[in-house]
């Protein structure tokens, strides 16, 4: 649940984006700049959070009136060394923000923090990560909350898709790449597992809304509509005039324990009544055009 500290939307003074060079960070930067919000975009080139002195360097860049978006992560954090590195990065941010003091912090987290058996997922669902990646985000949320006095909003996106996604995980992005190369779109088994997929531009729009209302609390970024991988594959094939086949391939492992995941997005409807998620079919077309 979010609580808006600004009763009406107001343009933040300046937004410092930590991790602005990434897939999500870049989208947030573009969105804010389109809205005329001043940004300080920090990529790994300007600020490597794993380097000694990173906290001090970041603190020197911050002003008390800044809003900060922390989106930098080495993801997915599948191994213990990656988990530790991600926590080291968060430690630097905690050190900088605790010392410098800022007006507002938005942390881009993940729905991986929730227990696998939570269905439908809401912001009140139990956080009990089953993966190192989920534990990394859950730990970072706690680190930030315990170190920083400023109001903090946790934005927890579900599976994000978009043209610039550098990952090639099972789902819309991989399907598009397969189709673009003229290869069949490969789904595991009958592809009946249903998931919620959110367009990266929608995640950026939500981050901008949270900044404008100076919200604190937690919000999931999910559309409320779960779609099977089978249907996504066929939506993608349609974009290629159905010249591309959808092919069932054996699952790489046992059928996942989490067969389906649904989200109840009532809290988003309440927090931002006028916000509209992009429907998956429409989002896939938009992502395809930009790719």
């Amino acid at each position: 649940m979010l609580e808006h500290l600004n009763t009406a939307p107001a343009k933040p003074g300046r937004v410092v984006i930590i991790g602005a060079g990434g897939f999500v960070g870049g989208a947030i930067r573009r969105r804010l700049e389109e809205e005329g919000v001043a940004t300080l975009a920090l990529t790994r080139r300007e600020l490597d959070l794993l380097q000694p002195g990173a906290a001090r360097k970041l603190a020197a860049l911050l002003r008390p009136t800044d809003s900060v978006v922390m989106v930098s992560a080495i993801a997915p954090a599948k191994t213990t060394p990656l988990l530790v590195q991600n926590l080291t990065m968060a430690e630097a941010v905690c050190g900088a923000l605790a010392g410098a003091g800022v007006a507002h912090l938005v942390y881009i987290s993940s729905d991986a923090v929730y227990a696998d058996d939570q269905n439908p997922v809401t912001e009140q669902s139990y956080c009990a990560p089953s993966t190192l990646h989920g534990m990394m985000h859950a730990a970072r949320e706690l680190m930030l909350k315990s170190a920083i006095a400023a109001p903090i909003a946790m934005l927890r996106p579900t599976l994000i898709y978009g043209a610039a996604d550098p990952h090639n995980g099972y789902g819309p992005n991989r399907f598009r790449r397969q189709a673009a190369k003229g290869e069949p779109i490969a789904i595991f088994g009958d592809g009946d597992e249903q998931r919620d997929h959110v367009l990266v531009e929608d995640v950026a729009a939500l981050a901008a809304l949270i900044l404008a209302r100076r919200s604190r609390g937690t919000l999931n970024a999910a559309t409320g509509v779960a779609t099977s991988f089978h249907d996504i594959a066929h939506m993608m094939a349609k974009q290629f005039d159905n010249r591309i086949a959808v092919q069932s391939v054996p699952r790489p492992g046992p059928r996942p324990h989490l067969a389906h995941r649904f989200f109840d997005i009532t809290n988003c409807l309440k927090a931002f009544p006028g916000f509209r998620y992009t429907a998956l079919a429409e989002g896939l077309v938009r992502a395809g055009r930009s790719a």
Binding site: T122, Q124, D264, T266, L269, K270, P273, G274, R276, Y277
Partner: protein, 433 residues
């Protein structure tokens, strides 16, 4: 023999209905409230609560009713009930300070042998801790149901009485008064009676939660919960009076209060109460059913929508808006224009910047894109969907309680959304009402 005088302190929904029932059973009654203005209004026949039959009952038995704001007037009472409201905070926790204040006020004026009965909802342990002789101190479970308060007060199923020692007979005047109602009297220790009230509400909440959970599932799998309910009611283990009608979560505040009390007691004692948390989570989810439906069908796509909202009260036949699902919905419809009607509650209760108060449901429907029936008032049952279709701009009806004639709604070309059945089925074919 002259009937003893029965006093009621706290002219609340509970106090007024209980006092009227006592007068109707032939007992002289004293209706006390420290609020002089309220007592003046009652004396002039202006009652602050709406209940079918209440005004008539009080009028018929007027000669046995004495109104007062002077606590000393309770001195002639053999039994005095404490019947004030117990406010709750947003978590459902009770603020008992008003009960304690009223008891202090009342006890100063009571006769030495008067029996004090706590009738309002208090947590286990409250009555035993009171400073009044145990032989004259009791707790009695109230079973008020808004909209049916008179019927329930006149003809209770039983009286549950909390005592210091249930083996000791109740004092004569109190026992005689209870026996006049012709129902079983169940004495038990204070804590048992206080928990019995909570237990009753937990059972009701369990039924409501089962209904809401499976009604929600029905909406997804093509079943119709309304077809299932009669089958359950005919099962002797469930029964005809079970709370199986799907609704918009728990409303009214009293059920939530008891859930909060159980959770608090569990927190203090280590008892396992995961079930109660599940009840609360389901209630929160179902409360927003209409909001989700409106967004999915209309609001997200059409920012200029006009929504007609029929009903503000938390249920029919009452003017109470406490925890009203309608007001909860309206609170989250700030960007949209609303047209509002309720037969009793004034539109200002909605506190919405773009709401228009309407004198009739048809006026509210004028040029609306969607119509939502949030309180199942009897007068809404008579609305003709064909007339609604002529008045409205859009063709969406959200009717959680299935108030309207579903066949006529479908014939008038509306998309129809109700609890317990999938919307496509309701739109194509009228379900059996």
């Amino acid at each position: 023999m002259t009937a003893p005088v029965i006093g009621f302190a706290g002219m609340t929904h509970l106090g007024i209905n209980s006092a009227a029932a006592a007068a109707a059973h032939g007992y002289p009654t004293v209706w006390f409230d420290p609020d002089r203005t309220l007592v003046g209004r009652l004396e002039s026949g202006e009652f602050p609560v709406v209940e079918p039959g209440l005004m008539e009952l009080a009028k018929v038995h007027r000669e046995r009713i004495s109104f007062t704001s002077d606590a000393m007037a309770l001195r002639r009472c053999a039994v005095v009930y404490i019947a004030c409201d117990v406010p709750t905070d947003e978590r459902g926790d009770s603020d008992l300070s008003s009960v304690r204040r009223l008891i202090d006020t009342v006890s100063a004026g009571l006769a030495r042998d008067a029996v004090l009965v706590v009738l309002c909802q208090v947590p286990p342990g409250f009555t035993r801790a009171l400073d009044w002789p145990v032989a004259q101190r009791y707790y009695q479970v109230e079973t008020l149901v808004f909209g049916r308060a008179v019927e329930r007060a006149l003809h209770p199923e039983r009286f549950i009485v909390g005592c210091a020692d249930p083996a000791i007979p109740l004092p004569g005047p109190y026992r005689g008064f209870l026996e006049a109602f012709g129902c079983p009297v169940l004495p038990m220790r204070y804590e048992s009676a206080e928990l019995a009230k909570i237990a009753i509400n937990c059972c009701l909440v369990a039924s409501v939660t089962v209904a809401n959970t499976l009604a929600g599932l029905s909406e997804h799998i093509g079943a119709d919960w309304n077809e299932i309910v009669p089958a359950l009611c005919l099962d002797r283990r469930i029964g005809h009076h079970a709370y199986l009608a799907p609704g918009l979560g728990l409303a009214g505040g009293n059920l939530e209060r008891d859930m909060a009390t159980v959770l608090r007691l569990a927190g203090e004692t280590g008892a396992e109460t995961g079930l109660i948390r599940a009840f609360m989570a389901n209630s929160r989810h179902r409360r927003d059913w209409a909001l989700r439906t409106l967004h999915r069908e209309l609001l997200t796509a059409n920012p200029d929508s006009v929504v007609a909202v029929l009903g503000l009260a938390y249920k029919e036949n009452t003017d109470s808006t406490r925890n009203s699902p309608s007001l909860a919905l309206i609170r989250h419809l700030k960007p949209w224009r609303l047209r509002i009607h309720d037969p009793v509650v004034p539109a200002r209760a909605a506190d919405h910047p773009r709401a228009v108060a309407c004198a009739s449901p048809l006026e509210a429907a004028a040029q609306a894109d969607a119509l939502v029936v949030m309180t199942p008032w009897p007068e809404y049952k008579g609305l003709a969907p064909a007339e609604l279709a002529r008045a409205m701009r859009g063709r969406i009806i959200v009717d959680p309680y299935r108030v309207l004639d579903t066949g006529a709604v479908a014939a008038a070309g509306f998309s129809y959304f109700t609890l317990g059945v999938s919307p496509s089925r309701a739109a194509r074919k009228a379900p059996h009402a």
